[in-house]
């Protein structure tokens, strides 16, 4: 992740604050453990997840909904395991 703009990393950390407690908890764990090891592609996918509406995002993370976007499937897999 060394080639990524550090400001962008900080922005992503703030945007991981959500409107749903469930997501806050999962993403907080993830930021503390796993986030720093993301590859550039994974980080781009994570950034895309943050654009999702909170309910859709949580349904993916909880496994309540299938992830139909192939770009997101891998990162959601990582978040499910957090």
């Amino acid at each position: 992740m060394t080639d990524i703009d550090p400001v962008e990393i900080k922005r992503i950390r703030w945007r991981s604050r959500r409107g749903l407690l469930e997501l806050d908890i999962v993403l907080e764990r993830f930021l503390a453990n796993g986030f720093d090891q993301l590859t550039t592609d994974e980080l781009a996918a994570y950034r895309k997840c943050l654009e999702l509406g909170d309910n859709d995002f949580l349904d993916y993370v909880n496994g309540k909904a299938e992830v139909d976007d192939p770009e997101l499937a891998h990162i959601i897999g990582i978040l499910r395991a957090v």
Partner: protein, 588 residues
């Protein structure tokens, strides 16, 4: 140091349901309106609301706003202001239909009308039989509301300042509100927003408790800003609890789990609800179950290393029922409690859910404070709506689905009042005081320069533990007095909090430190207000004063932060058009 100034007719702090409804009213009137939000508006906490929004549309069963009013007054345990309650319940059908016209995708009946579902506390004919009054958009009512209002606001040219954190209220020498200071997270710069009128719609502050269903952003910023600016907070002793939040996480386990046969156990493996409610047992009303749970913990029969939770047992239902009838519960328990409920019970604890108190307003959304003989003098230029405001419609206890209603009814009403005020009384901006940004800049520079200080997370945890231990669902004199002492000690520590990261851009650590300065004001207000109220009313259940005492205590608490003093003001007993609903015993 010069601070850049931006000018708007109206500045709204908060982009949740209440803030966006108010903003729409202003922008559509052609006023230049800014909405500041810490997060993208559609990610405000309103997104969490699933149950619905109440209105006596009578689409499924006969209903009347007068019955809705009765339920709300009763729910409030006669602490709600009856003029504001009448206003809200009367306006409810219009407000919901307006949302429908804005494009909100409500669930529908076959005849095309909005479907309404049942919800606890809503009845026909003043308590006789349950009525279906809640309008919902599947299980995403709050989400749908936010999207609908956001789209409308974009169309109306509301100017959004996303990822901006308001820091302090600016009042001039006369005490009038003339703007706010705000931090642009992207740059770390402080700005002044100069306005003819300011509205706070900053939402709740549930994060003062260790166990909370609220998202991390609910830090009571609007309340903290008020306290620092000398505006009192109303009825802060009243917080609503949900009985079954996952211990340590707060995530809600729905009532349906107990409906399907889940039972609560203490450390001895005893089904203790049989003792408290021999008939209804685990299905007794929410507040009753919550109080019984806490009683077990207080008497030393809690579970776990700290003996601070009870267990919700489901395994006897068998894996099939758990998977079929309670979808999602297993995933939630595994993910947030670390247990598989097919094999093990879920640790649960009464969990803070909603703040009934807040910034004192009237039903016009105007902030009102005591001045001379007048208990409710208007603060010129200052308005509040939504969970951060106290109109007071929820009184000592909120009825489910009445909060979303509160957002749109009082958001609109406050917006209308602001338009009127700006048009009739404030043709141009009042000058900013010379020291307008001083307090905010001092707060930030203290954070930057503090050495040998306290860690933000540690102090926040200490605050949350204290509030949880001393002012949760079940209160007594000794515990509250101890809590008042402890929370003031924590408040001293907050004055010395320190951050390691001093960078400017998107500095989350700085934001969290500033948020803690708001949370602590709410926490101190809660304990001091609760300690003083020697009765039991609604969500304030006092072991040493178990009765409601209308003679002495039918009054609103007002807490002032500068000297941590309390005063009181009367409850409004005169509705706008109907007869007063006199107090009765609250039985179910």
């Amino acid at each position: 140091m010069t601070v850049p100034v931006r000018r708007f007719d109206a500045v709204i702090v908060g982009g949740g349901g209440a803030g966006m409804r108010a903003a729409l009213q202003l922008s559509e009137s052609g006023l230049k309106t800014a909405v500041l939000s810490k997060v993208f508006p559609t990610r405000s906490h309103t997104v969490a609301a699933q149950g619905g929004i109440s209105a006596s549309l009578g689409n499924v069963q006969e209903d009347r706003w007068e019955w809705h009013m009765y339920d709300t007054v009763k729910g409030s345990d006669w602490l709600g202001d009856q003029d504001a309650i009448e206003f809200m319940c009367r306006k409810a059908p219009e407000a919901v239909i307006e949302l429908e016209h804005f494009g909100m995708p409500f669930d529908r009946l076959e005849n095309g009308k909005i479907y309404q579902r049942p919800f606890g506390g809503h009845t026909q004919n003043n308590g006789e039989t349950p009525v279906q009054r809640a309008c919902a958009a599947a299980d995403r009512t709050g989400h749908a509301m936010l999207h609908t209002l956001y789209q409308r606001n974009v169309r109306a040219n509301t100017q959004f300042f996303v990822e901006w954190m308001a820091l302090d209220l600016i009042r001039d020498e006369a005490g009038d509100v003339v703007g706010v200071t705000a931090l642009e997270m992207e740059t770390g710069e402080v700005y002044i927003f100069h306005a003819k009128a300011v509205l706070f719609a900053t939402g709740g502050a549930g994060r003062i408790y260790a166990a909370s269903t609220n998202a991390f952003i609910n830090t009571g910023d609007g309340l903290g800003m008020c306290v620092r600016a000398g505006i009192p907070l109303e009825d802060m002793e009243f917080w609503q609890f949900h009985p079954t939040g996952v211990a340590g996480a707060g995530v809600l386990i729905t009532e349906g789990v107990r409906g399907e046969g889940g039972i609560l156990l203490n450390a001895n493996g005893e089904r203790f609800m049989e003792r408290y409610a021999p008939n209804l047992k685990d299905l007794a009303p929410r507040d009753f179950v919550a109080r019984s749970m806490e009683q077990e913990v207080l008497e030393g029969r809690g579970c776990g290393p700290n003996k601070d939770y009870v267990l919700l047992k489901l395994d006897h239902l068998g894996p099939d029922i758990i998977k079929q009838r309670l979808p999602g519960i297993r995933e939630i328990a595994i993910k947030f409690a670390g247990v598989d409920p097919i094999k093990e019970p879920i640790p649960v604890i009464p969990t803070c859910h909603y703040m009934m108190g807040g910034i004192p307003t009237n039903y016009r959304g105007e902030v009102v404070i005591p001045q001379g003989d007048n208990p409710e003098a208007r603060v010129n230029g200052f308005y509040a709506a939504g969970e951060c405001a106290c109109a007071s419609v929820h009184g000592a206890n909120r009825l489910g689905t009445n909060s979303l209603l509160d957002l749109v009814v009082f958001g609109k009403s406050a917006g209308d009042s602001m338009v009127e005020f700006i048009r009739n009384e404030m043709p141009t901006w009042k000058p900013l005081p010379a020291n307008a940004a001083e307090r905010s800049l001092a707060r930030i520079s203290r954070l930057d320069n503090q050495t040998n200080g306290e860690d933000v997370t540690e102090v926040r945890t200490a605050m949350q533990r204290t509030v949880q231990a001393r002012a949760a669902v079940f209160r007594n004199s000794e515990n509250l007095a101890q809590g008042v002492k402890e929370i003031q000690e924590v408040a001293e520590r907050v004055k010395r909090i320190q951050i390691k990261d001093k960078s400017k851009v998107f500095n989350t650590a700085r934001v969290e430190a500033l948020e803690l300065e708001n949370l602590i004001e709410v926490a101190v207000a809660t304990l001091i207000s609760a300690d003083a109220r020697k009765e039991s009313r609604g969500a304030h259940a006092h072991a040493d004063f178990q009765q409601r005492d209308d003679e002495v205590w039918m009054k609103h608490t007002l807490y002032y932060g500068d000297d941590r003093r309390l005063t009181y003001k009367p409850v409004h007993t005169k509705p706008l058009s109907v007869d007063y609903i006199p107090p009765k015993e609250r039985t179910f």
